[in-house]
């Protein structure tokens, strides 16, 4: 069956326009220039062409109209016959035309007669145009696809239901016959598209008394192969009682043959199904019984206002329709063509062992736990709602801070202090640096004392050095070993060390151990203070022995030059030998030049005569 798209029918022009179109086309598309001096055959051909062309055009246009309109075949053929007859006649006459003017008048007559024919059917064309306009406005219903039809009394809630399940925006008003024609919407179920057709309300009247609007729905019911949803208003707010609606049902139940029927009890928010009276309930049960007897029928309750059960009704209707259609398809002959194209492949079972999906226990447990947690966990939004809503409660943003000590979470830190930004000063070791800073400042009294002592001592050293320096050349130097100043005494060392804060006893002992034997004069000097008889022989000997033993505890012996004395800072004798050698080497040159030391750069004679006199063998005397 050809698919008609009513919106795409071309405009049918009215009589006059039709003629104008055809004639102007003829004038444009055929050659226009002809002279009477041409060959007669050429003249004849010229005019025949025009006539034929016009005939063809008429034919074309009429056939397009009849093709596009659903059932217009016979009218079109009649017309076509008429026009072709005219054309044929005049072509025949034109074959024997001898003059230009004769051919021309023949052509004019032919075209004139064709146009008259069209003029006569002018009103029919106008009527066709009107039909076309009306048909274009009709909703495009595909009669073959899955369709659901909604019917019932006026004001039961058909259009509201339609609005709920599809995107159609049907007018919903409290007065009856708000919906005056069919409305089509589309909805999806199981990835398939379903057409939902909303019909105007039907009243319970004999067939002949029905008005055009009601006939719409009746016709739709009769001709469309669709699932039927019969709407019942339980609460009676549509203005009609349940008995009236039941009566309607019974009168049109003949139209529900072989169609999946669902009786929908709407407006349960106003009146629940259990609350209706006994008589009404009986009627409803009766209807339900009827529904069960048909192919597949069921009774459902819903309310479009609360959206309770709307989806259930839609799903039930779609399911039933689908099943019915599938069944029918399976039974028809065409299925055999398709059947060999389907193949569901299942692996061949090797043995009878059952192999269910393997999910590790841990995963199942975590899944269960997660589900439980999701329900139990309190979100911030819940907290907000509990504590008074959005305007009243302000969430504590510091709750989740990570700090070393949780007591500090609510601390407010000042940002500004005394004209400084506190953040600029923050430093983990600020205390250390502050200490250093304070050190830079004034010294404490002890520090000042110590500083004074240091300065005193330093000045003393400087004074001594200055004295030495100034008298360096002229002061007679006694070799250190005679110790005229009595500087190298262990007691003196001990006193100095104890002034510095050290314990001198160890040092004194060591010095005494390592010291060499002393000369007799020295030891004599020491004993002068004790008693006057130093020259007593016995005393002398005994004392000498005692002295020797007491004052020098080690035998005097000379040291070889390569012996390393601890305290010198040399590793071993080899190193010492090397250092001695280096020292001697550095001194040799100077000694040979009779220099007193490193700093002696004296030139005894700046201009020795023997170098500045005499003649030159080569060169000038200016430069020598």
């Amino acid at each position: 069956m050809v698919q008609y798209n009513f919106k795409k029918i071309t405009v049918v022009p009215n009589g006059k326009d039709f003629i104008d179109i055809i004639l102007s086309r003829t004038q444009r598309q055929t050659p226009t220039v002809v002279h009477k001096g041409y060959a007669i055959s050429r003249l004849r051909q010229f005019y025949m062409r025009k006539v034929k062309y016009t005939q063809q055009n008429f034919h074309e246009k009429l056939s397009t109209i009849s093709d596009e309109f659903p059932c217009l075949d016979d009218i079109q053929s009649i017309l076509w016959n008429l026009i072709s007859k005219i054309a044929k006649d005049y072509v025949k006459l034109l074959k024997y035309g001898d003059l230009l003017c004769r051919c021309k008048s023949l052509k004019v007559a032919a075209l004139g007669r064709m146009c008259t024919v069209i003029k006569r059917i002018g009103p029919s064309l106008a009527y066709l145009e009107q039909i076309r306009q009306h048909m274009a406005r009709l909703p495009s219903i595909d009669p073959n696809t899955r369709t659901m039809l909604i019917c019932g009394y006026p004001n039961v809630g058909k259009s509201s239901f339609m609005n709920k399940i599809t995107r159609a925006d049907v007018d919903v008003q409290p007065y009856a016959f708000t919906t005056k024609s069919l409305f089509v919407g589309h909805t999806d179920y199981k990835y398939l598209r379903y057409q939902v057709i909303d019909t105007p309300g039907i009243l319970d009247r004999p067939f002949e008394d029905r008005n055009i609007i009601e006939m719409c729905s009746i016709t739709a019911l009769a001709h469309l192969r669709a699932a039927v949803l019969f709407f019942l208003d339980i609460s009676g707010s549509c203005g009609y009682s349940i008995s009236q609606q039941a009566a309607l049902f019974h009168s049109i139940k003949s139209l529900f043959m072989n169609k999946p029927l669902i009786i929908v009890c709407n407006k349960t928010d106003l009146q629940p199904l259990d609350g209706i009276s006994e008589a009404d309930r009986k009627l409803v049960m009766e209807m339900k019984g009827e529904a069960m007897k048909t192919v597949i029928g069921v009774l459902l309750i819903m309310s479009t206002v609360t959206e309770d059960g709307v989806i259930a009704v839609k799903n039930a209707a779609c399911e039933r329709l689908l099943n019915q259609r599938v069944e029918l398809k399976m039974k028809s002959k065409k299925i055999n063509d398709c059947l060999n194209r389907f193949c569901v492949a299942l692996p061949k079972p090797r043995d009878q062992k059952e192999r269910p999906a393997c999910i590790p226990q841990a995963v199942l447990e975590t899944k269960a736990k997660q589900a439980a947690e999701k329900e139990k966990r309190k979100t911030e939004k819940d907290l907000e709602d509990e504590n008074g809503g959005a305007g009243v409660y302000s969430a504590s943003l510091r709750k989740n801070y990570i700090l070393s000590n949780n007591e500090w979470k609510e601390d407010i830190m000042p940002e500004i202090l005394d004209g400084h930004n506190v953040y600029d000063f923050i430093d983990p070791d600020i205390l250390l640096r502050l200490e250093e800073l304070e050190h830079e400042e004034e010294l404490s009294p002890e520090e000042q004392e110590a500083l004074a002592e240091i300065r005193k001592k330093k000045s003393l050293l400087i004074q001594q050095h200055r004295m030495k320096k100034s008298t360096a050349e002229s002061w007679p130097v006694v070799p250190k070993k005679f110790d005229m100043d009595r500087k190298f005494l262990t007691e003196r060392m001990g006193r100095q060390l104890s002034c510095l804060g050290l314990d001198p006893s160890l040092a004194i002992n060591r010095a005494r151990n390592k010291s060499r034997g002393r000369k007799r004069e020295r030891s004599v000097d020491r004993r002068v203070g004790d008693d006057g008889d130093a020259m007593d022989i016995d005393d002398n000997q005994a004392s000498k022995k005692f002295r020797l033993r007491s004052t020098s505890r080690s035998r005097s012996r000379s040291r070889p030059p390569s012996e390393v004395v601890p305290g010198e800072g040399l590793k071993d004798s080899a190193q010492k030998v090397k250092t001695i050698k280096l020292a001697k080497k550095s001194v040799l040159k100077r000694n040979k030049n009779a220099r007193r030391g490193e700093a002696d750069r004296v030139i005894p004679t700046l201009k020795p005569k023997h170098l500045f006199s005499g003649k030159r063998s080569i060169g000038k005397t200016q430069r020598q």
Binding site: I402, S404, D411, G419, N421, F425, D427, L431
Partner: protein, 168 residues
């Protein structure tokens, strides 16, 4: 909330004061009051305008380099809050402030000391040299202290009687 420095005079701009100007190259100029803003619009160089900190630092009137300036540095990495650290910081700020202001005043005093010393020297010299303007060398020889001689005028009896009506 931050305390900013005025671009012109380097004083602190507290929140709610002053104007910020953002140039097309995204450089931000903050001013503490309209005086600085107007000077900026006149294209004056703060280094040449006597009362600004920039001038004073450039010409050595105020302390430029000091270790106390190292403490106040804009840090870009946020530190985790630590109450002890915050306490210490607040206490330290006060101490650092005191040290810094002491040093600054010392700096100024030192700077002015040379002037003072010079003035003192000048004064002494002037005293020495110009004493003859107020005390005759003869008087100086007799009495070497610096007490200025009193004005002694011998007035006769007759003149006193004549001057009495005038003294009224």
């Amino acid at each position: 909330m931050r305390l900013e420095k005025c671009w012109f005079c380097s004083s602190t701009v507290y929140p709610g004061h002053g104007i910020q100007f953002v140039r097309n190259d995204a450089k931000i100029f903050r001013f503490c009051r309209s005086k600085c803003h107007k000077n900026f619009k006149m294209k004056r160089n703060p280094r040449k305008v006597k009362w600004t900190k920039a001038y004073r630092r450039l010409h050595g009137k105020d302390m430029t380099q000091d270790s106390t300036f190292e403490f106040e540095r804009k840090r870009n990495r946020p530190e985790r809050y630590d109450r002890n650290l915050a306490e210490n910081t607040l206490k330290a700020i006060k101490k650092i402030d005191k040290i810094r202001s002491d040093r600054a005043s010392d700096h100024i005093k030192n700077r002015l000391k040379t002037g003072k010393v010079q003035r003192q020297k000048e004064a002494r010299k002037q005293l020495e040299q110009g004493i003859h303007l107020v005390k005759a060398p003869l008087a100086l020889a007799q009495d070497s202290s610096l007490c200025l001689p009193k004005i002694k005028v011998n007035v006769s009896q007759a003149q006193i009687e004549e001057n009495q009506p005038m003294e009224e």
